[in-house]
Amino acid sequence: MIPIVYTFVFSFNDSVKSNIAWRGFTFDKWLNVCNVEGGAVCQAFGNSIVIGLVATVLATTLGTMIAIALVRYRFRARSAISLLLFLPMATPEVVLGAGLAAQFLAVGVPKDMVTIILAHTMFCISFVVVTVKARVASLDPALEEAGRDLYGSPSQVFWRVTFPLLLPGILAAALLSFALSFDDFIITNFNSGSVSTFPKYIYISAARGIPAEANVIASAVFLFAMILVITVQVSRAAREKRLAKLG
């Protein structure tokens, strides 16, 4: 908690360059986040968001498909595939980042947003598979059968029964992917070329003092996430209460 509070408090520091010593309270940093260094913080932040979103969509789609296949079908290469899925999780980020960087270099792919997205998607897939797999496995096949028994065609059964039931798992996987992507530094550092991301921005500016604007952004993300989670939490409690009353 301390670092979070620290980050939050220092987002109001009236600092000039590096944000180390407390120099007075100001709202300026919050009001003018994007005005320092030609908006470098905001641009990095924007990049991180875009990368996170695209990588999340890709990884969630691919991972969900794999998860369904793994649970629902039996095939020869099952254990090989399981290993292939476990390996990225067991591989330290430096190795992943360095390996992929070397590969892009060898093939002559320029490093930019695309390479970052490709890299992030890669390491998110495994996490998605694990998350969604648990959900698929706990999905009672009888429900789909009931759907078929009640005159649902295969596609109707998928969209009206299977998918809604998997949705919480898929959403959890997507959220996790986004969090992993958004906060990734090591792999990004190897594969980003000159594209800046929020963690990369912080890493680089760590060498010369992080501007308070970074604290502003981090605090804002934090507050946003907290408000979101708490709203969801409270509204769910309220809904349950309503339902309980109904009963």
Partner: protein
Amino acid sequence: MAMREFAERGADLELVGIHKRFPGFTAIEELDLTIPAGSFFALLGPSGCGKTTTLRLVAGLDEPTNGRILIGGTDVTATRSHERPVNTVFQSYALFPHMTILENVAFGLRRRRIDDPAGKAHEALRLVELDHLAQRRPQQLSGGQQQRVALARAIVNRPALLLLDEPLGALDLKLRRQMQLELKAIQEEVGLTFLHVTHDQEEAMTMADTVAVMNKGRIEQMGAPEELYELPRTAFVANFLGQSNLFTGDVVGATDTAIAVDAAGSRIVVPAARAQRHSGQVTVGVRPEKVELHREQPAAEADRNLIGPGVVTDVSFSGVSTQYLVEIPGAGRVLVFAQNISFGPAAAEGDRVWVSWAVEHGFGLEDTPDEARFQADASTSAIAAQHRDALVAELEEH
């Protein structure tokens, strides 16, 4: 297509030479079965004997390895599940957790684009007395309520053939009896064909027109409930459908009307018409409620079998009747039920008693005596578990 309509009447179901093999395990050996339209057919059998498998084949959720399935005379073996005029009440209910009760019940109607699905769903819910819970979700209902929703969800489609997989298993006795009456009423009213799977023999016998007893993937015996109860053909049926006293011995005399069996010194006469085999070593039996207990040796009568004396080893009061266990040297244990019309037990533990029953109540089994052991525990479920292990091992080798 016809599917867009409610069934106006039930359809015949015909299973021809059905065989179902799972990798490493044969669940159904060879099944031939005809269920006439509009009848209430009960499939009875111990756990793991293949009841659910049979229903799944009929519903199109699994494919038979061999054999054909005809509904209303049409071969549906290759027809996919959602195109068969069949609905199932699943053993596990399988209610959609993400839909309200009403949406669950209306699901099938909507798939077939039937008019006013909500109205019809409400009507079906009223039938099972759950309309007031229409807006809840399945998780918010008790087990018994869920089961009734599952029933409503199937019935609302008025399928030509309704498959019920232990639809009342979760209900307490009281509610169970009530639902049985309602099911029966629905079936008779609409004239649908019901194929009802249960392991509750009393339920099967009170509800069905025809009962089939299944064992290890085969139908052991099939017929009207009374017929099956009165004249079981195998030890399995004799003991699965109610309880029986069985005696094994050689046929020592046979006339046109009766055979006499010597069971370790006791002579037991069985009507020839009620005995499946008339010579060699045979097993004969009688139901416990047909047996009378005597505190003094009664006079021998020609039309009664009398054995004893023996000792009462256990007396237990079960409300409606009292059950006596009599140990008779040679003949083994004999169970006697006596309806509690008067107070107090007719005999006490340790009493010396004789037992007798009218010859006309005896029956003779088809089994050869070495088959005639009913093994309670090494039942199909244990065997199935073993087979499943073998199957998993086999799969993993690939």
